[in-house]
C-alpha cells in the first residue's frame, strides 16, 4: 500500500511539474521582424524611374541597405523588453532576401504591448570600425577620416535632373563631419505605437519604410538643389535624418 501511495504521489507531482513547465513555456514567445519597403503604399519597384518626389524629381531606387538596431518593445504596463541578440543590430539589404526578416534568439513575454522603438543606424557606443569584418555588413563601413563606423544607410539610385540629365544619387547616412574636425552622430530613435497581444504560434512585427517620406517633411528634398552625394554634407544628412522620423510604419501579424 505504501508502495502504491508513493507511486501515486510521484505521478501527481510529475503532472504538476509538467503542467508548471508548460505554463512557463507559454509565457514566452519568439518574435519575428519583417522589413518592407514601399513608395506611398505601393511596393517598391527597383530600378524603374516611376517615382516623383514632392519636389518634382523623377527617381528610381537601385539599391537599399541599412541597419536597424536596439529594437525595444514596451508592454502596456510600461516594461521595456529589449531585443539583444546579434548585438541588437540587424542589417537589411534589398538584394539579400534573407535579411528581410529577422528571428532573433530573444523571447518576449506573453502580454499586452503598447509600442515599439528602434534606432535607425547604430548608436555611438557600438558604431566603431571593426565591428563587422565579414560581408555584407562589412561593406557598409564609413571612412575613419569621416568619423568611422558604418553607413546607417545606403540608398543608391538615379534621378532626372534639370535638363533631363540622368544623375546618380547616393543617399548615404552616417556620422557627419563638421568644421574643426567635429563629428555628428546622426543616428536617430524611432518610436511607434503598436498595440498587440502576443499570440501562441507566430508574432510577426512588420516594419515598413516608405521611401518617399525621406524626401518630404519637414525638409523638402530636391536633388537639383542638394546634389546627389551627401556623405560630406552634414547639413543635408541632418535634414535627411529629420525626415527619417516619418519614414517608418509598423504592424503586428500573429496567430
Amino acid at each position: 500500500m505504501k508502495y502504491l501511495n508513493f507511486l501515486l504521489s510521484f505521478a501527481v507531482a510529475s503532472i504538476l511539474l509538467f503542467d508548471s513547465c508548460k505554463k512557463d513555456e507559454e509565457k514566452w514567445v519568439a518574435p519575428e521582424f519583417t522589413f518592407h519597403h514601399n513608395v506611398n503604399g505601393s511596393a517598391l519597384q527597383k530600378s524603374v524611374m516611376i517615382y516623383t518626389n514632392l519636389a518634382g524629381n523623377n527617381y528610381e531606387v537601385d539599391e537599399l541597405q541599412y541597419f536597424i538596431s536596439e529594437i525595444t518593445l514596451k508592454t502596456a504596463s510600461g516594461q521595456l523588453i529589449p531585443i539583444t541578440s546579434d548585438s541588437a543590430i540587424h542589417y537589411v539589404d534589398l538584394a539579400i532576401p534573407s535579411t528581410l526578416s529577422w528571428k532573433p534568439a530573444d523571447q518576449i513575454p506573453t502580454t499586452d504591448y503598447d509600442s515599439i522603438s528602434f534606432v535607425f543606424g547604430i548608436n555611438e557606443a557600438k558604431n566603431k570600425t571593426g565591428l563587422f569584418v565579414n560581408p555584407p555588413q562589412r561593406d557598409m563601413f564609413w571612412p575613419d577620416m569621416m568619423g568611422g563606423g558604418y553607413h546607417y544607410m545606403k540608398m543608391n539610385g538615379k534621378w532626372k535632373a534639370t535638363g533631363d540629365l540622368i544623375k546618380a544619387f547616393n543617399f548615404h547616412l552616417g556620422i557627419g563631419m563638421g568644421d574643426m574636425g567635429m563629428f555628428y552622430q546622426n543616428y536617430f530613435k524611432v518610436t511607434l505605437p503598436l498595440k498587440f497581444h502576443t499570440m501562441a504560434n507566430s508574432n510577426q512585427i512588420e516594419i515598413t519604410m516608405n521611401i518617399e517620406k525621406w524626401f518630404e517633411a519637414p525638409n523638402l528634398w530636391d536633388w537639383n538643389v542638394i546634389g546627389g552625394q551627401i556623405m560630406q554634407n552634414q547639413d543635408a544628412m541632418h535634414k535627411a535624418c529629420e525626415n527619417g522620423a516619418h519614414v517608418f510604419g509598423i504592424a503586428f501579424k500573429g496567430n
Partner: protein
C-alpha cells in the same frame, strides 16, 4: 526426436551464418584497409590577419591540411596537369599565374603578348585574368561575372575545386581530359604517396587533384603591404600617399572605397559587380547580366582587388587599359554614361571624377602602397623547383 533434430539443424544454420558473417566482416575490413589506409593529415589553420574577415570560403569536404597544400603546390606548378608530357603542350596553373605578377601573367609576359593568355591550342582566354589573392575570403563567386558560385544551378561549377577541372578541360586553357591527367599523375613516382598521405589512397582521382590545388590556392594570402603596415601602426605613409588615401576614401574625392574597400575592408574589393561606365553597348555573353538576368547588370563585372594592382595590368575584363595611369585617366575623364552605369559611379554624368594631375599622382602613390612584397616573394607560394619525381617544376 523430431524436435531435437529440428533444434540441431537450427543450431548448425545459426553457427554457419555467424561464421559466414564474421568472415564477410573481416573481408570487408581488409578490403577497406587496402583501399583507404589510415591516414592522419595535419590540419592547417589560416591565421586571420588583423581586420580581415573571419568567415572563410572553405568547403566542409575539403579542409586545409599541410599535406593537401604541399600536394596542391606541386600540381599547381606541374605542367603535366594538362595530361601532356610534350614540352610545348605542357601547362599548369603556374604557366599563366605568376607569383611575381600577383598570380596573373602580367603585361610584360614573354609569351602572352600584352598580358592576354592563351591555352595550349593557341585560343585566347575570353577575358583577361583576375589575381589569385585572398580568394579564401571571396564569397561572391569567381570569374569576372561571378558565375562560379554556390548559386550556380550546375553543381559542377560552384567552387575553386570546380575551376581546377574547368581549367584542365577548357579549350582556351589546357584543352585536356581529366582521365588523361589522372592517369598521367598516377604514373609519376612520388605522387601516389603524396595522395595517400593527403587523402588516404594511392589511387589518384581528379576530384582529389582539384581538392589539393584548391587548398593551395586558398593559402595565397596578401596582408603585408605598406598600407597594412600603416594600419597596424608599423609604418607611416608619405604625405603624397596620405593625400591619395584621402582621395581614395572620400565621396567628394575619387570615391574608390565604396567598391574597392579600404580601412574597413582590407581585401580592397567588395567582390561585387559594377558597370563602371566603360561602354554604351553591352553584348558580352560573360558579363554579370549573363548570370543574373537583371538588366541593371548589363556590362557589370567584378571589382578586382587593388592589392598588387600595379603588377596586374592590363586592366579591366578586356584589358583595354595598359597602365594604372590610363585607368586613373579613365575614372577621371573617360567614363561614359549609359542607363546601366552603377549609381556609385556618381560622376558619370560629367565624364568622371575630374582629378588634377597632382591628385592623379597622389592617388597612384596611395594605390602603390598596396603592393605586398611579402606575398610576391613568399617561398611557400612559389614554385617548388623540383616535382615529386625530380622533374623540373614550372618556374
Amino acid at each position: 526426436m523430431e524436435l531435437q533434430n529440428t533444434g540441431l539443424i537450427k543450431n548448425i544454420i545459426c553457427n554457419t551464418l555467424f561464421v559466414f558473417a564474421l568472415a564477410l566482416l573481416l573481408l570487408v575490413s581488409s578490403c577497406r584497409h587496402d583501399e583507404e589506409r589510415e591516414y592522419n593529415p595535419t590540419p592547417y589553420e589560416i591565421k586571420v590577419p588583423q581586420f580581415f574577415p573571419t568567415k572563410m570560403n572553405i568547403p566542409f569536404d575539403n579542409p586545409l591540411t599541410l599535406e593537401g597544400i604541399e600536394l596542391g603546390r606541386y600540381l599547381f606548378y606541374d605542367g603535366r596537369l594538362s595530361g601532356n608530357t610534350e614540352t610545348e603542350k605542357m601547362m599548369s596553373c603556374g604557366t599563366c599565374h605568376l607569383q611575381s605578377r600577383s598570380f596573373e601573367c602580367g603585361i610584360d609576359h614573354p609569351k602572352f603578348t600584352g598580358g592576354h593568355p592563351f591555352g595550349v591550342t593557341g585560343i585566347l582566354t575570353p577575358h583577361l585574368m583576375l589575381p589569385m589573392i585572398n580568394l579564401v575570403w571571396n564569397e561572391s563567386g569567381y570569374f569576372w561575372s561571378g558565375i562560379i558560385s554556390n548559386d550556380n544551378p550546375d553543381a559542377s561549377q560552384r567552387t575553386l575545386e570546380d575551376i581546377v577541372r574547368m581549367g584542365v578541360m577548357a579549350p582556351h586553357e589546357m584543352a585536356g581530359d581529366t582521365n588523361k591527367t589522372k592517369a598521367l599523375i598516377q604514373s609519376i613516382p612520388g605522387y601516389p604517396e603524396l595522395f595517400e598521405k593527403t587523402f588516404g589512397s594511392r589511387t589518384v582521382t581528379f576530384r582529389n587533384i582539384s581538392r589539393a590545388v584548391a587548398q593551395f590556392v586558398r593559402t595565397l594570402i596578401s596582408s603585408d603591404s605598406k598600407f597594412d603596415k600603416y594600419m597596424r601602426g608599423e609604418q607611416q605613409l608619405s604625405a603624397q600617399e596620405l593625400n591619395g588615401y584621402v582621395l581614395f576614401m572620400t565621396e567628394d574625392g575619387a570615391d574608390c572605397f565604396h567598391c574597392h574597400g579600404g580601412s574597413g575592408n582590407p581585401l580592397f574589393t567588395t567582390n561585387l559587380f559594377y558597370n563602371n561606365g566603360k561602354d554604351t553597348e553591352f553584348n558580352d555573353s560573360r558579363d554579370r547580366f549573363s548570370v543574373t538576368g537583371d538588366p541593371q547588370d548589363h556590362g557589370a563585372y567584378k571589382a578586382t582587388t587593388l592589392r598588387n594592382i600595379e603588377l596586374t595590368g592590363p586592366y579591366m575584363h578586356d584589358g583595354r587599359f595598359k597602365t594604372l595611369e590610363e585607368v586613373i585617366d579613365f575614372y577621371s575623364e573617360g567614363i561614359i554614361w549609359s542607363p546601366y552605369v552603377h549609381p556609385l559611379m556618381h560622376h558619370a554624368y560629367d565624364g568622371g571624377i575630374q582629378l588634377t594631375p597632382s591628385e592623379k599622382a597622389d592617388l597612384i602613390a596611395f594605390i602603390k602602397t598596396l603592393r605586398d612584397e611579402t606575398f610576391l616573394t613568399n617561398p611557400a607560394f612559389g614554385s617548388p623547383g623540383k616535382l615529386p619525381d625530380g622533374a623540373d617544376a614550372i618556374k
